[in-house]
């Protein structure tokens, strides 16, 4: 009897399987190897870049749930990132909670704020919703500035939330007799959290709730008619996505920035941050979990890389007074703009679609379809 093709999906259980084929299992194994061995092979600069990528990947996955799957456009991501960062300082720094407590607390606070915004999405749609969430950035900045006892006002606050689980302190890891740097330890911590968040998001999207979200995205009236509760799903996807954004924010504050102020998360700075996350999902691929991670690899890493190699690029300059055509910070923002435009023109579904096209080609080889 012929062996059943692993690509042939015959029942629901097959459809749900995460790593159903040999190739996918190989991919999983490779990812695990990269996860374990990466910090041992790369130098601290690249590890710090990858740490930032991990934070952006978490936020990207959250935003992709909201925008890519449920079709709700939000410019408010930066606000929820900020909520996460300040919650991290409040619960982890001020109250001294351990990582396993303050990170879920960030998620809960973010989710609560998201659930407050969610009902607005019931009333408004599309571009109106985008503008209202833009308003969230400005209102949010105002409260971040005014609520001085928690946020430190305009001057900001340092984020001292502990990054350790029990005896494992990820900032100075000491395992089996060898010592690891801050970058190495944080790489393991952050990418482990990326894996958990990706799994959670994947589980949401491949089941009943994910299909409901996609139905809402494709046509919300039709979704409601076939029995999808708009109020329930829109509010919960806002809550979940904001919760994930707050987790990203908590880690962004505690592991990457270590000092935060309102101008990073609200107003214009917040708009730039929010759009950076939208760039992540556009470049990576809307409506895929892997898209959030792939997009973060490009969007988060690029500015750090140009910053690092600015001396080798003659048209860039580090300071306004240096010679060169464009300052590196401005160049990076222009690059964002270009990335968004180029991807939307050439590959609207992002790197994930590109990857899928390549794999389909080889799966069908030597036939063209």
């Amino acid at each position: 009897m012929a062996r059943r093709s692993p690509y042939l999906i015959t029942d629901y259980r097959d459809d749900l399987r995460l790593f159903g084929t040999g190739w996918k299992r190989l991919g999983l194994a490779l990812m695990i190897v990269a996860f374990v061995a990466g910090p041992l092979m790369l130098d601290d600069f690249w590890l710090s870049v990858l740490g930032l990528v991990a934070v952006y990947a978490i936020g990207g996955i959250g935003l992709n749930l909201l925008t890519g799957f449920a079709g709700q456009v939000s410019l408010g991501t930066a606000f929820f990132i900020g909520v996460g960062a300040y919650s991290a300082e409040w619960f982890g720094g001020e109250q001294g909670w351990p990582l396993l407590l303050w990170l879920p607390a960030c998620a809960l606070v973010g989710a609560a704020f998201g659930a407050l915004v969610g009902p607005i999405a019931l009333r408004l749609s599309g571009q109106y919703l985008a503008i209202v969430t833009l308003g969230l950035l400005f209102v949010g900045e105002h409260f971040m500035v005014e609520w001085r006892s928690v946020t430190g006002g305009t001057r900001g606050t340092s984020v001292t939330a502990p990054l350790s689980i029990g005896p494992l302190d990820f900032t100075k890891l000491d395992l089996f007799g060898s010592r690891y740097t801050r970058e190495q330890g944080l790489f393991w911590l952050l990418w482990a959290i990326v894996a958990i968040v990706a799994l959670v998001a994947k589980n949401i999207t491949r089941t009943r709730s994910g299909r409901a979200l996609q139905a809402i995205r494709d046509r919300d009236v039709a979704a409601e008619i076939i029995g999808v509760s708009l109020s329930r799903y829109k509010v919960s996807v806002f809550a979940i996505s904001s919760g994930i954004a707050a987790v990203a924010g908590g880690l962004y504050g505690a592991a990457i920035l270590q000092y935060v102020n309102p101008s990073q998360f609200g107003g214009i700075g917040g708009l730039v941050l929010s759009i950076t996350f939208i760039a992540v999902i556009i470049v990576g691929g809307m409506g895929t979990i892997a898209g959030g991670i792939l997009g973060a690899l490009v969007v988060a890493a690029l500015p750090r890389v140009t910053q690092r190699f600015v001396d080798y690029l003659p048209f860039l300059k580090r300071n306004p007074s240096d010679s060169g055509l464009v300052e590196v910070g401005q160049f990076n923002l222009m690059l964002f703009g270009l990335l968004i435009i180029v991807f939307l023109l050439a590959e609207p579904l992002g790197l994930a679609a590109l990857w899928r096209r390549v794999t389909t080609y080889f799966k069908a080889w030597p036939f063209s379809y």
């Binding site: 925008t67 109106y128 400005f138 209102v139 105002h142 009236v221 401005q330 160049f331 703009g337």
Partner: protein, 298 residues
């Protein structure tokens, strides 16, 4: 009473400035159903071009403004022709994001060319004022008011009486049906972007002239014009002006009185107030005061 009148005048002047910015949003939205996030960038580049023609090249002020209007319209047209034209038919979200991409590019091109310092737009009004009773009015504000009213009249006449205006309205409602009736969507889109570019330069002038100096900050006016257009309804020129006025007056009155009435809201609440008003109005009227409700089909 004088204080109140003074605040009202300041608010109305600010409101007409917002209205000028908002009209640019409206004309593009009416034709393409896309909120053009790059409008702030166009406003900014328009103002800097006026500065460049007037102060750097020594052309008199009025011709500089006209030249800047033409040049900004040209930039908008090039963008429409080269990039947005390819996006016709793609999801609105994608088109909006493309304009955000353009905003990032414009912002940084401007700061790269002209720097981030405060510049002085060589306008003929400067800080001169006129007194009406006890109320002091800036001459530049009177110009903003006049310009906004003239422009609104032109827009109204354009959409109401010209074939191109009619084509624009038709294209906004149903692109395919308009095409079938022989209306060229390409011409409509180009016209919309051209008009938006020209009015952006005017708005830039009205923001940066007078006592305010020219800096990249002026694009933030475009962000504050969002509440105005949303409040008025994105597809209504009249709504843009009314929305602009409501937001301007609200902001000015908040700046004047909030410190006495509700100090617990903290300082600087006037820059947040427009968004609060916007959210409240939207929750009651989801398509703004004068906007057309969207008909949903299944």
């Amino acid at each position: 009473m004088t204080e109140f009148l003074q605040l009202m005048v300041a608010g109305l002047a600010l409101g007409f400035t917002y209205a000028l910015v908002a009209l640019g949003f409206v004309v593009i939205y009416k034709a393409t159903e896309v909120i053009n996030f790059a409008q702030g960038g166009l406003v900014m580049i328009g103002a800097y071009l006026i500065y460049n023609f007037d102060t750097t090249w020594g052309i008199p002020f009025a011709p500089s403004v006209v030249l800047a209007m033409v040049a900004t319209a040209g930039i908008a047209l090039v963008f429409e022709r080269l990039i947005l034209r390819r996006m016709i038919g793609s999801p609105v979200f994608a088109q909006v994001m493309i304009t955000i991409g353009l905003l990032f590019i414009l912002q940084n091109v401007v700061t790269t060319i002209w720097g981030a310092e405060n510049l002085n737009l060589g306008d003929p009004w400067g800080i001169s004022t006129v007194n009406v009773g006890d109320v002091v009015i800036q001459v530049k504000d009177l110009w903003s008011v006049g310009l906004a009213i003239v422009l609104l009249g032109l827009f109204f006449a354009f959409f109401r009486f010209t074939p191109l205006g009619l084509a624009m309205r038709a294209t906004a409602i149903d692109q395919e049906a308009a095409l079938a009736q022989g209306m060229s969507s390409k011409r409509v889109y180009m016209a919309a972007w051209g008009i938006a570019g020209a009015s952006a330069a005017l708005a830039g002038m009205s923001i940066a002239a007078g006592a305010t100096s020219l800096s990249p900050e002026i694009q933030f006016y475009a962000l504050l014009a969002f509440p105005a257009i949303i409040l008025g309804g994105i597809d209504s020129p009249l709504g843009a002006v009314v929305g602009g006025l409501v937001i301007g007056v609200t902001q000015s009155l908040t700046a004047g009185y909030q410190g006495d009435i509700a100090p617990w809201l903290g300082s600087g609440f006037q820059s947040v107030m427009p968004f609060v008003v916007m959210v409240l109005v939207l929750l009651i009227r989801p398509y703004g005061l004068f906007g057309t409700p969207e008909v949903k089909r299944v």
